[in-house]
C-alpha cells in the first residue's frame, strides 16, 4: 500500500499532455448550464436548490471517482448500481439484526458503516479477482455480477422493500440531511473523495501506473509494474467507494429495493467520459469526472425547474447535452 500514499515529484509531461482549451470543454458546458439555469428560474441559485443538486450528485460522484481509476487502467465496471443496492440491503438488514443487542446509537451506525465498507470491499475484490486471476473481460465479469447483485437484493427484500428500523433511521438521518457549517455531509464527503482522487491520479505512483496500464499493459508489465495488482486495486477501491456512497445514501430514504441504484453504472460511466477520461483507458481526469457528474445532475434539475419541454423529451435533451459536452472537448483532436 506504500505506493498508494507516497507522493512523487510532479511529472514534467503533465503540462505537455493537457490538451489546452479543449480540456476546458466540460467546464465551459457546466458554466453555460449554470447561466441557463439562473436565467430560467430565480430559485435556481438559492442555497436550498444548490444543496439539493450537490447532495444528490454525491452518490454517483463518489462512484464515478472510483470508476475513473478503473476506466483509466483499461477496465470497466457495470455492476456498481446493483452493488450499491445490494450493499444497502445487507447494511439495513445487518443494522436491523444488530439493533436488539446494540440499541440505537453511534456504535450501531458505525457497525452499519463497517458492514457497508466490508461488503463493498469484498464485492470489488470479487470483480477484481475475476478480471485479473480468471482473466475474463471486465465487461462480461461485471455484466454477470450486475445481474447477481440485483437479483440478490430482490431476493433479500422478498421482491419488496427492505426498510431500516424507524428509531435507527431517525438517529442516522442527519448523515444525509445535516452537515457542517451549513454544508451537507454528502457534499463534504464527496469533496474529500474528489480531492483525494485528483491527488492520487496526478501525484502518486498508483495514478501513474493506472495510466500506464491503460495505454499499454504489455509495456507497463515489462517496465516492472505489477499490472494485476494495480488492476485489482482499482476494483477494490471502486468497491469501497460504492460502500461509502451507500453509507450516505441509506439515511436519505432508509430503504433499499430491487430498483435502488438503477442505471447508476451508466450515469457514472457517462460522467467519467464527459469529464475527459478516455473510455479505452490510458488517460484519466478526476476533476473532469466531478464536472461530468454535476452536468448530469444539473440537466435533470433545470429541466424540472424550467418546464421547457414535454417531460417525454427529457431524455433527448440529456442525450444531446452529453454528446455535445464530449464533442466540445474532442472536436480538435478528432479533426487533426
Amino acid at each position: 500500500m506504500s505506493d498508494l500514499t507516497r507522493s512523487d515529484a510532479p511529472r514534467p509531461s503533465v503540462a505537455a499532455r493537457l490538451p489546452g482549451l479543449s480540456a476546458l470543454g466540460p467546464l465551459l458546458a457546466l458554466i453555460l448550464l449554470v447561466a441557463l439555469g439562473a436565467t430560467l428560474n430565480e430559485n435556481f441559485l438559492s442555497a436550498g436548490n444548490i444543496t439539493n443538486v450537490l447532495a444528490r450528485s454525491a452518490f454517483i460522484g463518489m462512484i464515478a471517482v472510483g470508476m475513473t481509476f478503473v476506466i483509466t487502467s483499461g477496465g470497466l465496471d457495470l455492476s456498481v448500481g446493483s452493488m450499491a443496492a445490494f450493499i444497502a440491503g445487507v447494511m439495513i438488514l445487518g443494522m436491523n439484526a444488530l439493533l436488539p443487542s446494540m440499541g440505537v446509537g453511534l456504535p450501531l451506525v458505525l457497525a452499519g458503516m463497517g458492514i457497508a465498507l466490508g461488503v463493498g470491499l469484498l464485492a470489488g475484490l470479487g470483480n477484481g479477482l475475476l478480471v485479473t486471476k480468471a482473466r475474463i473481460e471486465p465487461f462480461i465479469v461485471t455484466l454477470g455480477t450486475m445481474g447477481i447483485f440485483r437479483s440478490l437484493v430482490t431476493w433479500l427484500a422478498d421482491g419488496g422493500t427492505i426498510s431500516l428500523d424507524f428509531g435507527v433511521r431517525q438517529f442516522y438521518r442527519p448523515v444525509y440531511y445535516s452537515g457542517l457549517f451549513g454544508i451537507a455531509w454528502p457534499i463534504i464527503v464527496f469533496a474529500i473523495v474528489a480531492v483525494a482522487g485528483q491527488i492520487a491520479m496526478r501525484h502518486t505512483r498508483f495514478g501513474r501506473y493506472c495510466e500506464a496500464i491503460g495505454s499499454n499493459d504489455k509495456v507497463a508489465l515489462y517496465s516492472a509494474v505489477n499490472v494485476e495488482r494495480i488492476r485489482l486495486m482499482t476494483y477494490v477501491l471502486l468497491g469501497l467507494l460504492v460502500g461509502l456512497a451507500t453509507i450516505m445514501y441509506v439515511p436519505r430514504l432508509g430503504s433499499a429495493s430491487g430498483s435502488t441504484g438503477m442505471l447508476w453504472e451508466l450515469e457514472a460511466i457517462a460522467a467519467v467520459i464527459i469529464g475527459g477520461t478516455a473510455l479505452k483507458g490510458g488517460y484519466g481526469r478526476v476533476w473532469g469526472t466531478v464536472i461530468g457528474v454535476l452536468i448530469l445532475s444539473l440537466i435533470d434539475n433545470i429541466l424540472i425547474l424550467a418546464d421547457l419541454v414535454s417531460p417525454y423529451l427529457n431524455g433527448t435533451i440529456q442525450g444531446v447535452i452529453i454528446v455535445l459536452a464530449v464533442v466540445l472537448q474532442r472536436g480538435k483532436s478528432s479533426s487533426a
Binding site: N49, N52, D158, G159, G160, G258, S259, D300, I304, Y312
Partner: protein, 321 residues
C-alpha cells in the same frame, strides 16, 4: 369431448374433497394443471403480486387436491414467451393464467395456447387482439385516476395549487392521468407541474425537491403511487413544509395503509390498485375446473378510496408490499 368428461370427474372429486369424505374419484381422473406466468418481483407492486400468487396457489392446492399449478416468473418478455411454450410442451397444462410483460409480443404466443384448446386467463394488461382470452381480470386504471381526482375536488377549494408525479410513460399511466384531470375539471384546482417520477422512490424524492424549490405554495400532491409517496414525504420533511400540503399515493402499500389507519394528516387516504388481483384470477380460474360455475368474461376490480374507516381490509402486514 374428452375434456367434458374429465371436467365432471374433477367436479365430483372436488365436491367429495370438500365434504371431507375419502376421494376414490380422484384415482381415476387425472389432475388439472394450471400454468401461471407472471413477471418477476423487480419492484414493490410485482413483489406483492408474486407473494399473493404464491399464497393463493398454496391455499388452492390444499382446498382442491385435484388441481396442480406450475408457476413461472419472468424478468423479460423473451423469457416469458419461452416459459409459456415450455408449459404447453412439457407440462401439458389445461389452463394458462398470464400477466403479460408487454401486450404486443405476448399476443401471438398466448393465442397459440388458446388455439391448442386450453383455457386462457389474462391478468392486468390486455392482449393487443380482442377475443383471445376466456377470462380477463384487471384493475381499473381509469377509476384509479377518477377516484383520486374526486378526492382532490372534494377536499380542495377553487384556486388551490397541486403538483403531480407521473409514473413510467405508458398507456396505463396516461389512462390514470387523463381520468384524474377529467375528474378535477371545473373545480378551479390548478396543476402547477406534472413530471415523471417513474414509480421510483429516489426519482420521486428528487422531483419533489425540485417542485419545492420552484413553487412557494403547494396545497396537495398527487403522487399516484405509494412508493413515490414515500419519496415525496421525505423531500417535504427535508424542506420542513409538512403542515402545508397533504399527499395521495396509490396501490395499497402496507406502510401507507398503516398511516391511513393511524390517521396521519399528511396521508389522509390512499387509492387501491391491488396486486392481489392475481388471487382473483387464480381463484376464478380454479372454479372453472372444480365446478360448473360459469366464469367466462371480464372481471374488473374497482379502485376504491381507502380511508381510516375501511383501511383494515386492505392491510396485509405479511406481504412484502
Amino acid at each position: 369431448m374428452e375434456r367434458r368428461t374429465f371436467l365432471t370427474t374433477a367436479a365430483i372429486g372436488a365436491a367429495t374433497a370438500a365434504t371431507g369424505v375419502s376421494v376414490p374419484a380422484l384415482a381415476q381422473g387425472k389432475k388439472a394443471v394450471i400454468g401461471v406466468s407472471i413477471p418477476s418481483a423487480t419492484h414493490g407492486f410485482m413483489g406483492g403480486l408474486n407473494w399473493h400468487a404464491q399464497e393463493t396457489i398454496k391455499r388452492l392446492k390444499t382446498t382442491y387436491p385435484n388441481l396442480e399449478f406450475v408457476l413461472a416468473t419472468a424478468g423479460a418478455v423473451g423469457k416469458q414467451v419461452n416459459d409459456i411454450e415450455d408449459m404447453v410442451a412439457t407440462r401439458n397444462i389445461d389452463a394458462l393464467v398470464v400477466l403479460p410483460f408487454e401486450s404486443e409480443p405476448l399476443t401471438s404466443p398466448v393465442k397459440a395456447v388458446k388455439d391448442a384448446g386450453k383455457w386462457v386467463t389474462v391478468v392486468d394488461r390486455g392482449l393487443s387482439q380482442p377475443g383471445i382470452e376466456d377470462l380477463y381480470v384487471a384493475g381499473d386504471n381509469t377509476a384509479f385516476g377518477r377516484v383520486s381526482g374526486e378526492y382532490f375536488k372534494a377536499n380542495l377549494k377553487p384556486g388551490a395549487k397541486i403538483v403531480v408525479l407521473r409514473g413510467i410513460p405508458t398507456t396505463l399511466d396516461n389512462e390514470r392521468v387523463d381520468a384524474f384531470q377529467a375528474a378535477i375539471a371545473g373545480s378551479g384546482i390548478e396543476i402547477l407541474d406534472m413530471q415523471h417520477g417513474n414509480w421510483n422512490r429516489d426519482k420521486a424524492f428528487q422531483v419533489m425537491q425540485d417542485y419545492l424549490s420552484k413553487h412557494k405554495k403547494i396545497d396537495a400532491v398527487w403522487a399516484a403511487d405509494d412508493d413515490m409517496a414515500i419519496g415525496v414525504m421525505e423531500a417535504i420533511s427535508q424542506a420542513g413544509r409538512q403542515k402545508e400540503m397533504w399527499i395521495v399515493g396509490g396501490a395499497g402499500m402496507k406502510e401507507i395503509i398503516k398511516r391511513v389507519m393511524d390517521k396521519d394528516p399528511q396521508i389522509p387516504v390512499d387509492v387501491s390498485y391491488t396486486p392481489a388481483q392475481i388471487s382473483t384470477a387464480l381463484e376464478v380460474t380454479a372454479l372453472r375446473f372444480v365446478s360448473n360455475t360459469p366464469v367466462y368474461g371480464r372481471f374488473i376490480i374497482g379502485s376504491t378510496l381507502i380511508t381510516a374507516e375501511n383501511a383494515a381490509q386492505f392491510y396485509f402486514p405479511d406481504s412484502p408490499f
